[in-house]
């Protein structure tokens, strides 16, 4: 008999590990913090904070230093500052986007220490993708300090890919990438089993929630657009990862019964009205593709091109339409517009807002904030790094890995 949600209380050792994780997570998210502030924020006494910090420092995860003298001299001994060892503790973060592959070395604390990028097209195979990532890691590795420790790799994959016909195909893409990519990547990274894979929208939501525009906000919908449209959903501070991890496919919410055919086999999906192709097609630029082409339409609209203006207005109206549906279903505090959705939102905020006002119930609309990302296009990389750091933050002193030690 299993009892969902039940868990017995932790042992003393588990509490210590929990506290170590809480302290490390705090400085990972908030940066250098005084011991005095940690005492207050974590609700632990000074001697416990001291002991935990010493353990983390011994493990090479944090340093302690005397704060720089501030203007006014203060009475008594100044509280030591605890700082994450950003240069020596890192993860690799990878983002497999529609048109490029990015990889970065991200230090504890969330700083991008090094990065590489290469173009990619929809026909790029898993093995080619993996080879590119392996090459990037091979280039970045020698530049890391010799005593730096790798904590694993996080990968963000776009939920969509171009098919031969240039349309969006999503179900197939997830099956094509998510699982095999982790295995294949592990194989070229010396058998390191610590490969975590998530969707770009999900991991961007995680990043913006951890250290971006949605910090401190428990109920967030992060909309991400490229060729397709997906959402990362956070509710009550938890990632809504859904049963199979396939949730957030808001681009395949049908908003127009009998509408345009979609690559998924259905008709009238939201993505057929707000995706890149929708805008380009409405603007009479069917042959074009990519974010630059989309930005060119928005730019033309800004310069008074009537056809471009009509296209932007139409797509903005549909963007508001779907956001309104999501607001009624999920009642988020904040909707964040990322990727091409950011560009569209900025170009169409007024008509989008009027759609939202017309369609969202007053109770769900009252406190709704519409925002652009703080982390920009780096959100996916930073979210991938957050995912990879999870293991360390959950249990900082556990053995780094079963397979290979460190890096």
């Amino acid at each position: 008999m299993s009892a969902p949600g039940l868990r017995a209380g932790p042992s003393q050792e588990e509490i210590r590990r929990h506290n170590l994780g809480a302290l490390l997570r705090y400085v990972h998210i908030n940066g250098a913090t005084t011991r005095a502030e940690l005492t207050g924020e974590l609700g632990l006494n000074r001697s416990t904070i001291g002991a935990l910090t010493a353990d983390l420092a011994t493990a090479g995860l944090v340093t302690e230093e005397t704060p720089r003298a501030s203007g006014a001299a203060r009475a008594g001994r100044p509280s030591l500052v605890v700082r994450p060892m950003s240069a020596l503790v890192y993860t690799y973060a990878v983002s497999v986007d529609v048109d490029r592959i990015r990889a970065a070395r991200v230090g504890l604390g969330g700083e991008i220490l090094d990065r590489r990028e290469a173009a990619r097209d929809g026909d790029t195979s898993v093995s080619e993708t993996v080879a590119a990532v392996a090459a990037f890691v091979g280039q970045m590795h020698p530049d890391a300090p010799p005593d730096a420790v790798n904590m694993g790799t996080g990968v963000a994959v776009t939920g969509t890919a171009r098919t031969d016909g240039g349309l969006v195909q999503l179900g197939g893409d997830i099956e094509r990438f998510a699982e095999p990519l982790a295995e294949a990547l592990s194989a070229v990274l010396g058998g390191d089993p610590r490969i975590s894979v998530g969707k770009v929208a999900d991991l961007s939501a995680l990043a913006e929630h951890s250290r971006g525009v949605a910090a401190g906000c428990g109920d967030v919908v992060y909309l991400y657009g490229d060729v397709g449209v997906g959402a990362g959903i956070i509710s009550g501070g938890h990632r809504v990862t859904s049963h199979g991890g396939y949730g957030g496919e808001v681009g395949h919410m049908v908003v127009r019964p009998g509408g345009h055919p979609c690559g998924c086999g259905s008709r009238g999906c939201w993505v057929t009205e707000i995706g890149e192709h929708a805008l380009l097609s409405a603007a009479g630029r069917d042959g074009a593709s990519g974010r630059d082409a989309l930005l060119a339409v928005i730019d033309a609209a800004g310069r008074g091109d009537g056809k471009a203006q009509a296209a932007v207005r139409q797509v903005g109206d549909w963007l508001g339409f779907g956001v309104a549906n999501l607001a009624n279903i999920l009642n988020p505090r904040m909707v964040v517009f990322g990727g091409t959705m950011r560009d569209l939102y900025l170009a169409t905020a007024a008509s989008l807002r009027s759609r939202v006002n017309a369609m969202v119930l007053p109770a769900c609309r009252e406190n709704l904030r519409l925002r652009t990302p703080k982390l920009g296009d780096d959100a996916a990389l930073i979210g991938a790094a957050e995912l990879a750091f999870e293991r360390l933050l959950a249990d900082p002193l556990a053995d780094p890995v079963d397979g290979q030690g460190g890096d």
Copy 2:
């Protein structure tokens, strides 16, 4: 500086309280359980389980007894059975439905010990509703054993109400009921502050997830229909209560742009295609209302009435349409059809399934289960009781209430 998601480790006393709650929750959900089983399920040793059980027994929350002799005599002393004190520890559960007010006394363990019910119409005011509940409590109270302890009151309110025009108005209804109802009810229940209010769909989802068809299932969408349509959403085992508690308004997802006007002020909301009025109107029975009228159409369809059959088919198709959207957005493991949605689902399962197959991405469709509730119409009452028991289960030995002691 606030750090979302951070919490320092618990003290020894907090651990004890946590374990008391875990044990009590286990027998509350699973019923009588041997000490041996509790040891295994909660991951605590025998002496800890013994001490916790003794504390709970002293507080009058559980009893311990020797199990009835089973067929084969077993060696050694039989493990004692721990049983919740269902008859002596209870909550009041209230469900304010579209057409009736229900109240029940629900014992620890989830058993409905006593119940009352009265008709209600859309014009019933908050004060009339509260008076009816107070009368029910006044009737049920004398029948409770003199030493029984009341742990508070949970209230489920329908998310919709009839307006003067007979249409669905939702935003207004929530504002009209949710907050004032709790205060007003507290006033007539001797100032008891322990009044928790939730939506029928949310609390039905909680009940089915705790002890119904969705037990053990972490990702659930519970659709509830009466005049309106709402959803209770559970993700990763957590209730998705959303920012203002107003989420789950799936009935106001627009599925047909420019469609029928909805009481919320928008057009083409899902509820205008699958709500009670939609079916009755499609069947040419515009004057009728209520669940019996809806069942009469389904019955007529079963007996071969062409117009009723077409109406049921049409509404079933739209039901599948919205379920497909929700499956793509939330990727649940299970969708449960409650209230009138149950009747519609049973009458239209085939056409609904074909819509789902056509519209849901393969990855989101693969493991999707469509189910009817196990607890039937009692789900809202049982869920309201679960909500009211939450305080006790979180900290079983806390003072029962600041305001008035017990009952």
